[in-house]
């Protein structure tokens, strides 16, 4: 096995610039949506006093969770010593930074007072998990940038293992923090569960890797660099494992709630759609999160007949859709279910939408802002691989696989 040689993308092709322009357009519409919402106030969205976090938060939390998951390939190589993933570690770190930047951009631009974001970094309430998250996000940027630097600067290569370990521990804490944003909420039946934190960590493995797979295949196909079949097979199996683990955590979360009488209401709301006229969360859960985001990708990954890139890319794309569905059910479904202020009572009259399932459907500006965040993340990656030596010149199996053996010519 040779030492991988990293090289910038040439990035002069029509396709490369077209990609940047398309992503730029999405970023521009996202910013336009932000300016509109900021100028008019949030009443122009479908968010209200019932559904206080809407589609922007679905995208933002998904991107933030995926960011920590995207770092996995780097962690597996540096912390767990899997040599075959080592050439991909810089891209893994870059993608992690980019996804976090995209997610945070959406989160900040949806604030009621986005111009006060500096206050969020100067006034801290240390009992707030949100405040901790602000520190964790900023720390993640700093640590992963240092980690990336150690990997890219030959003199510091020896320290990259240590930086990688630190980044790995930090990302575990970071996703614990993200899951706990919901886990620590005592008021709402759908949240208030310690399992939220580990569930988010396991889900992050799948979401991050799914995005990573697509980015790797796209970058190597479009730049006509070699990408080995053995590496792809490993990435594919890893994704399968992560999807299965995620499904297990989702099952445990729901089984616990089904067992506890107090939570029967919210469970039948999400799983059976009771009380929900359009049964929207039931559909998004079963079709989006479980079928599209879990079962179909597993079949695509493990079906013996399928081995190619297409099935893997399809599986990865479905995992992303499933991830967005999961966030939709968790964030919006969790708020749509009414608060239990008066256990044992039903609310028959209220001017403030008490006791009823809260209606919500994404508005255009919200979706544009969310997609703008995705575009920011991808734009950063596409730009960075042109100006920085992130991508190995070749990912052919003979270059990177320690167990590679030349095919013997038939005797």
């Amino acid at each position: 096995m040779k030492k991988p040689r990293y090289l910038e993308l040439e990035g002069r092709s029509f396709g490369y610039y077209l990609l940047l322009v398309i992503l730029g357009c999405f970023i521009a519409t996202g910013l336009a949506a932000f300016l509109y919402m900021e100028h008019e106030g949030h009443w122009v969205t479908r968010m209200d006093n019932q559904i206080v976090w809407g589609t922007p938060h679905v995208f933002a939390v998904f991107l933030i969770v995926a960011a920590s998951g995207a770092l996995n390939i780097a962690s597996i190589s540096s912390v767990f010593g899997k040599a075959i993933y080592k050439p991909l570690a810089p891209l893994s770190a870059l993608l992690a930074i980019a996804l976090l930047a995209g997610g945070l951009a959406v989160l900040v631009l949806d604030l009621g007072r986005p111009e006060r974001v500096i206050i969020a970094m100067t006034y801290y309430n240390f009992k707030s998990i949100f405040a901790w998250n602000i520190i964790l996000y900023n720390g993640f940027f700093a640590i992963v940038i240092v980690y990336l630097w150690m990997m890219m600067e030959r003199r510091f290569n020896q320290y990259s293992k240590f930086a990688g370990l630190f980044a790995f521990l930090w990302r575990l804490i970071l996703t614990t923090g993200t899951g706990s944003i919901f886990g620590f909420l005592v008021a709402r039946s759908a949240y208030n569960a310690a399992i939220m934190a580990p569930m988010f960590i396991v889900l992050s493995f799948a979401y991050g890797l799914a995005i990573f797979n697509i980015v790797v295949v796209a970058a190597y196909s479009w730049s006509k660099r070699e990408l080995g079949a053995a590496l792809l097979m490993k990435l594919r199996r890893l994704l399968g494992l992560f999807i299965a683990a995620g499904l297990y955590f989702v099952a445990v979360y729901h089984l616990t709630n089904i067992y506890i009488t107090q939570h029967h209401g919210v469970e039948s709301f999400i799983l059976l759609g009771s009380g929900d006229t359009n049964k929207i969360y039931m559909k998004v859960f079963w079709l989006g999160q479980i079928l599209i985001g879990g079962i179909i990708p597993l079949l695509l990954i493990y079906a013996p007949a399928l081995k190619g890139r297409t099935s893997m890319i399809l599986a990865s794309s479905l995992v992303i859709l499933g991830g967005l569905s999961q966030m939709y059910v968790t964030i919006i479904g969790g708020q749509a279910f009414p608060l239990e202020i008066f256990p044992g009572k039903e609310v028959i009259e209220s001017s403030f939408h008490d006791g009823v399932v809260n209606a919500y459907s994404p508005s255009l500006p919200e979706a544009m802002l969310g997609l703008g965040g995705v575009a920011i993340a991808l734009f950063l990656v596409v730009f960075a691989i042109k100006v920085l030596r992130i991508l190995p010149q070749s990912l052919a199996d003979r270059e990177i696989d320690p167990h590679y053996s030349e095919p013997q010519p038939a005797a």
Partner: protein, 258 residues
């Protein structure tokens, strides 16, 4: 912190002295005219010797009566703008029916001014805060509009301002992009603290309206004052919390939820 407070105290005394000296030195008429127009003011900070609370007797609360809500809106300058989904509501009327017995009752629901408020716990900047005297407020100067407090509140007591506001009341600053909730008419609570004459003390607008209109379903007072009317009533007839299982020790208590 204590150093800061000491400095602030010195500063206040200095300002006070300066103002007093200046007023002696200059034409007394000007100063007098100011004193005449001045309302009662609170020179002392809110103290943890008090805990302001409310008691609501649901049996006296008539279904269909909205007097408390109207009074609150008037006092704090709250009005409907884009519909009930996005409009602010500091206090609202809720009608309940017991799932088992079918018993129907009506009550006002507002910020419960918890001793351990979840909204204060989760606020990243400390904008959501509880005063020494138990009143839970939002410091809109440092509220970033993240709405996490609205996710955390078990009573849905908070509203986000979804649009540019106009013609706010001087006593109740409120504006786009920040979260707000019932302040227990903190402007009145503070004015009471500066007013020696107890007959001039004013209850929060909702309680005042409920009593003035003869319903007498609401009490306001100091839960730490053994001689207060509200404590006497609580000792006599009790008063329960909403969601007592959360152990938030709410400052607003209810009678007759059954």
């Amino acid at each position: 912190m204590s150093d800061d407070q000491a400095i602030n105290r010195d500063r206040r005394q200095f300002f006070g002295m300066t103002a007093a000296m200046a007023s002696l030195a200059v034409a007394p008429g000007v100063f007098l005219s100011q004193v005449k127009s001045a309302r009662a003011v609170a020179t002392q900070a809110a103290s943890d010797q008090n805990r302001w609370g409310m008691l609501i007797d649901t049996s006296k609360c008539a279904s269909g009566c909205n007097d408390c809500v109207t009074a609150c809106n008037k006092e704090n300058g709250i009005s409907g703008i884009h519909g009930t989904a996005t409009d602010a509501q500091w206090i609202r009327k809720v009608t309940l029916r017991d799932k088992l017995t079918g018993y129907v009752q009506s009550l006002p629901l507002l910020c419960q001014h918890c001793e351990n408020p979840p909204c204060v716990d989760v606020c990243p900047t400390g904008a959501s805060m509880k005063r020494a005297d138990g009143i839970v407020l939002v410091d809109k100067h440092i509220c970033i509009g993240c709405r996490y407090c609205m996710m955390a509140c078990p009573y849905k007591a908070r509203s986000f301002i979804h649009e540019v506001l106009d013609e706010q009341k001087a006593v109740a600053p409120r504006g786009k992009g920040t979260v707000e909730s019932c302040t227990m008419c903190v402007q009145r609570v503070d004015a009471n603290r500066g007013e020696e004459d107890k007959t001039k003390h004013r209850d929060p607008a909702c309680v005042e309206a409920c009593n003035n209109n003869g319903h007498k379903a609401m009490w306001f007072g100091d839960l730490k004052d053994p001689n207060s009317e509200i404590v006497a009533e609580l000792q006599k007839h009790g008063g329960q919390q909403l969601r007592p299982d959360l152990q938030l020790n709410t400052g607003v208590r209810y009678q007759g939820i059954n």
